[in-house]
């Protein structure tokens, strides 16, 4: 189980990094989302993995999983939606304003070529 989670975190991180290094806004946003998943799962895993012991207090049950990382990750998921939305909006605004969705400032000469 641990191996699956750890490797999933690794795969999502690698995919996220690769997409973040792309040149257009949309793949970069997707890459950031992937990284968000990786980080959230990573934080969640800091409570160690427990199967079948949700932190819902029940009479007669003694073992519960660690609730604290869950609470922290829950808000992180919601906040990351807000963050994604803002980034998408900024990317969209930039594209609509300049008809260009590159994330990098390009050298002035290249821009002049585009306009010519």
């Amino acid at each position: 189980m641990e191996l699956l989670v750890a490797s999933a975190i690794g795969v999502m991180t690698a995919g996220g990094i690769y997409l973040v290094l792309r040149l257009r806004t949309f793949p970069v946003i997707l890459g950031v989302s992937l990284l968000t998943y990786a980080v959230n799962v990573y934080l969640f895993a800091s409570g160690r993995l427990t199967i079948g012991a949700p932190p819902i207090l029940t009479d007669g049950v003694e073992t519960y999983t660690d609730p604290l990382p869950q609470a922290l990750v829950l808000t992180a998921i919601v906040i990351s939606f807000g963050m994604t939305a803002v980034v998408v909006m900024i990317g969209l605004g930039a594209y609509l304003g300049s008809e260009d969705d590159h994330v990098d400032d390009r050298p002035a000469t290249q821009k002049a070529d585009d306009q010519a």
Binding site: M1, S7, L19, L21, F26, N40, R48, L74, L92, L96
Partner: protein, 962 residues
């Protein structure tokens, strides 16, 4: 009056001139005058205590753990300087009232002036050296505003910038020096520092502290080689020059040297550095002043010269020198302020300050002539005027000072300085006021009204009174000297008198005055020789240094920060991985303490889907729709993993967030290109892939390592599990943590979420107001539109499902405290229900049925949560303390009422508002020209006969969310 009020009054009063500006110039100056007078009177109420030799103190703890307290202290020295600052301040305010023209914004001027005044009073009254530093920097900033007050003049702006640069850098050095000093003594309180002379002077850190502190003092007091900023600050209005350069700003450095004199002076280092700097400044300043044609520049360099004189006196480290310094500070403040004001009057009346265009003003401006002559002769050191007395004392001190093993160096240079000083004073009088009346003044001068000449006249009277009856000033000077010397030395017996017998100082004085007169006789050839001599131009050097530094900084910054985001991201990734590797390689890892848990086929299948989806995204990311679908799979698998790993709340949240995120991305894709073109080279892709794999491996290794080991320190989670039901009244520990244990965090988070949504709304508004609007309106859809964008089946289905979803949301919300659920999840579910209406029935139809704006919903959520928190104040509990009780209303079962549920309601509302506002903003962009807002939910409705699908004017309607 408490010392706090004396310091605070100017700062608080600084608000008034701006308000009073509309009430007229007299009111504006009047209120400033009254504020300063208030502080002045407050200072005077402390006079009896000062005369009795007491030290008045006042203290408020500010940051005691840093040793920074708001501690004020008033002793003789502080009183003396406060008196100069506030007393001359009063005269300057009266003078400025008449000096400033109607075009000048008076409220602004007096606001700056009061800020400056407060900062200066703060410096001289601070008992804590950190507090002193704060005020020190405040004087740099406020003097910047004052010097650059005439913003339309380039000289004003450049002079202000130069003054700020030089004094600001000195201030930085001084911060270092003060921190070292505080470290040596172990306290930042002046009263403690001043008791530890031996400790400080024996410390190996004494020299660095001394040099850093002196850098601060020398820059502020314009000592060589930092003297060059002061003349450029003359671009300021004359009242500012008179105030800053006679009694205040430049005296701050002198004050600090005097304040720390008991602990810093007397060492060979101090004597050599301070005396030499003072001596050079004195001679150099006087020499340059002699050949300046601008009246204010002449006075500026004479100020430099006199500051050098005072510095030199403090440098000699004798009690007599200190007393002479105190006396000269007083005398210099009186005659120099009077001279600046006189020069200002001449400028104001004749419209020029160029001494070559003046002359003969004696008969035209008899009053100003008298005032200026008295003051200038005092500066020249003519008997029966106060300047003579202190200059005599300086020369006396010089004859006893040995520097670099030579006993003639100081007396000779002091005499030369006095000689030059006398010469420029004579030039000031002779070339401005004496000589024949001319007829080519830019403006025919005459004496100004009384408001303008009265302030310098008062000072001129003081000059004469002190000069003829020095015994009147003697007790006060000795009182101040005693407080300056502290325990380090006894106040000398020498008395202030006009006649001390035929002492060497008298002969030196005579040489100086006669030599000065002689220089005037041969001034014309001297000037030609001076102008033929090449001299370094301070401003050019300064500009060269500043421009060089700016160019260097520009190259470094543009090189590092070139706008290539991918490069920053790459550097960040590589750095993080490298840092992590370093930590792993140098740290220790204990053996694994947890067993690996077996994984069944289901988790493996989920894992395979996730990995396949990620790989698919990387390979196929150029097809943006496909990539979006694949990321949906990743999110789904993460949700499933949460279910499996005992985190039902997380699973529900992740799942619902996934839905709204995908909708949001789809909305964005509506405007973006659907494909990403191939741009990067293969090499680049391989490189990025390498970095990505490296990062992935690092993340894998890190998670793998710690998942197999128990936490190093016991987690605090046990506390939450143990107290969730007892203290929070809920069995869902995650929810209790969110709304109770860490409610304050959650409160912050919903506010952040609300801000993010408002930001999106604001960006949308900006886009729709700007040039983009036209583009959006005329945009052609990139893909063919569906003929039936709002199909009947979907409309009916969503309509039917709406109450069911709302019910589910309500249920999830209510049970959240005890079972998986809660405000966050309920909010997301309800948002999805509303979004479905938008998608099915169109934007216009749904908006028309919207009763509350989403901003309001966000605000209501934050307020509900906030008021729930405040509610606990009424039972004298801290913010957000929760309470709960169990009630039973027949025929229902017993149920729980908790304040936490109310808080969760706030969370719910904020989440609904934020999600909906974000999505709504995106869909507003989609509106195109030619779209008609359909008032009907469905495009095709058989029951509606007037508009059918075959009619040409109603084909593609609505600005559907999808």
């Amino acid at each position: 009056m408490s010392l706090f009020y004396i310091v605070l009054l100017p700062f608080l009063g600084a608000l008034l001139p701006g308000i009073m500006n509309a009430a007229g110039r007299a009111a504006c100056a009047g209120v400033t005058f009254v504020v300063t007078l208030g502080a002045f009177v407050g200072l005077m109420t402390n006079l009896p205590a000062i005369i009795a030799g007491e030290t008045v103190q006042a203290s408020i703890e500010w940051l005691p753990r840093l040793g920074l307290n708001f501690t004020l202290m008033l002793d003789g020295l502080g009183f003396f300087f406060s008196l100069l600052i506030l007393g001359i301040g009063l005269l300057i305010i009266a003078y400025a009232r008449h000096y400033l023209s109607r075009d000048d914004h008076m409220g602004e001027f007096f606001t700056y002036l009061l800020l400056f005044q407060g900062a200066m009073v703060g410096i001289v009254l601070s008992d804590n050296i950190l507090l002193l530093l704060v005020f020190w920097e405040l004087t740099s900033l406020s003097s910047f505003l004052l010097i650059g007050y005439w913003k339309h003049l380039p000289e004003g702006r450049q002079g202000a910038r130069m003054a700020l640069t030089v004094t600001g850098m000195g201030g930085l050095a001084m911060i270092g020096g003060m921190l070292i000093l505080g470290r040596i003594v172990g306290s930042y309180d002046l009263s403690v520092i001043l008791q530890n002379r031996e400790l400080i002077q024996d410390s190996p850190l004494y020299l660095p502290a001394l040099i850093l502190i002196l850098l601060g003092c020398f820059t502020k007091s314009a000592q060589f080689p930092f003297h060059f900023w002061l003349p450029h600050a003359m671009a300021a209005p004359t009242p500012v020059s008179a105030y800053l350069h006679s009694a205040t700003m430049v005296k701050a450095g002198i004050f600090l040297m005097a304040r720390l004199w008991p602990v810093l002076s007397g060492t060979p280092e101090w004597i050599v550095i301070v005396t030499t700097a003072g001596l050079i400044t004195m001679v150099l300043g006087a020499l340059i002043a002699l050949f300046k044609h601008d009246l204010k520049a002449l006075l500026a360099f004479s100020t430099v010269s006199h500051l050098g004189l005072i510095t030199m006196l403090l440098g000699t480290s004798t009690a007599f020198g200190a007393m002479a310094a105190v006396f000269h500070i007083l005398n210099h403040a009186t005659f120099k302020a009077a001279l600046f004001m006189s020069a200002g009057i001449v400028d104001h009346e004749a419209h020029t300050r160029d001494i070559r265009r003046l002359g003969g003003l004696r008969t035209l401006m008899p009053v100003v002539f008298t005032i200026a002559t008295v003051a200038a002769l005092s500066m020249a050191g003519i008997p029966f005027l106060n300047g003579f007395l202190s200059k005599e004392m300086m020369l006396e001190e010089a004859t006893h000072t040995v520097l670099f093993g030579s006993d003639w160096l100081v007396p000779v240079l002091a005499t030369v300085g006095s000689l030059l000083s006398a010469a420029y004073c004579f030039r000031f009088i002779g070339h401005t006021f004496l000589g024949p009346v001319r007829d080519d003044y830019p403006h025919k001068p005459h004496d100004p009204n009384m408001g303008m000449w009265m302030p310098p006249a008062i000072l001129a009277v003081l000059v004469v009174v002190i000069g003829t009856a020095p015994f009147l000033a003697e007790p006060f000077v000795k009182l101040v000297t005693a407080s300056l010397l502290g325990a380090a030395a006894e106040v000398p017996d020498a008395y202030l008198a006009i006649w001390h017998g035929l002492v060497p100082a008298l002969y030196m004085s005579i040489i100086a005055v006669l030599g000065g007169l002689l220089l005037m006789l041969v001034f014309a050839p001297l000037l030609r020789a001076w102008e033929a001599t090449p001299r370094p131009e301070a401003k050019a050097i300064f500009d060269w240094v500043v421009n060089g530094a700016a160019a260097l900084a520009g190259r470094v910054i543009h090189g590092l920060h070139n706008g290539a985001f991918t490069r920053y991201a790459m550097i960040a990734m590589v750095t993080i991985v490298a840092a992590g590797y370093h930590a792993w390689a140098t740290g220790t890892v204990g053996p694994a303490t947890r067993a690996v848990q077996p994984a069944g086929p289901v988790p493996v299948a989920g894992w395979a889907m996730l990995v396949a989806a990620v790989i698919g995204m990387v390979v196929l990311h150029r097809n943006r729709f496909l990539a979006l679908m694949l990321i949906g799979i990743v999110g789904l698998m993460v949700s499933v993993a949460f279910v499996f790993l005992s985190a039902p709340d997380l699973a529900m949240t992740q799942f619902t967030v996934e839905v709204v995120t995908i909708i949001l991305m789809l909305l964005a894709l509506n405007f973006l290109p659907n494909r990403t073109p191939v741009e990067s080279t293969l090499l680049r892709r391989v490189r990025d892939g390498g970095v990505a794999i490296l990062g992935g491996l690092a993340a894998f290794a890190l998670s793998w390592h710690y998942m197999l080991r128990d936490a190093v320190a016991a987690p605090i989670s046990e506390f939450h599990l143990a107290n969730s039901y007892k203290g929070g009244g809920g069995t869902n520990v995650v929810n209790v943590i969110l709304v109770d244990f860490r409610g304050f965090d959650t409160y912050g988070e919903i506010i952040v979420l609300g801000i993010a949504a408002l930001l999106i709304y604001a960006l949308t508004e900006t886009l729709l107001d700007g040039p983009v609007r036209r583009k959006l309106l005329n945009r052609l859809p990139s893909q063919p539109r569906s003929g039936d964008m709002h199909p009947m089946m979907m409309v009916v289905l969503t309509r039917v499902i709406m109450p069911v979803v709302l019910l589910v949301g309500f249920y999830i919300f209510l049970r959240g405290h005890n079972e998986p659920g809660g405000g966050f999840i309920a909010g997301l579910i309800v948002s999805i229900a509303v979004v479905m209406q938008y998608m099915a029935s169109g934007f216009a139809w749904t908006s028309a049925r919207l009763r509350y704006p989403y901003h309001g919903v966000i605000g209501a959520g934050v307020l509900v949560a906030g008021f729930t928190g405040i509610g606990s104040w009424f039972v004298a509990k801290p913010f957000l303390t929760s309470d709960f009780t169990y009630v039973r209303i027949p025929p229902f079962q017993e149920f729980e009422l908790a304040t936490a549920a109310l808080f969760d309601l706030g969370v719910f509302l904020a989440v609904v508002g934020a999600v909906m506002l974000s999505l709504e903003s995106f869909s507003r962009l989609a509106h195109r020209d030619g779209d008609t807002d359909s008032e009907f939910p469905m495009d095709i409705d058989p029951s509606r006969e007037e508009i059918g699908p075959d009619q040409p004017d109603a084909p593609v309607t609505g600005k559907g969310v999808g």
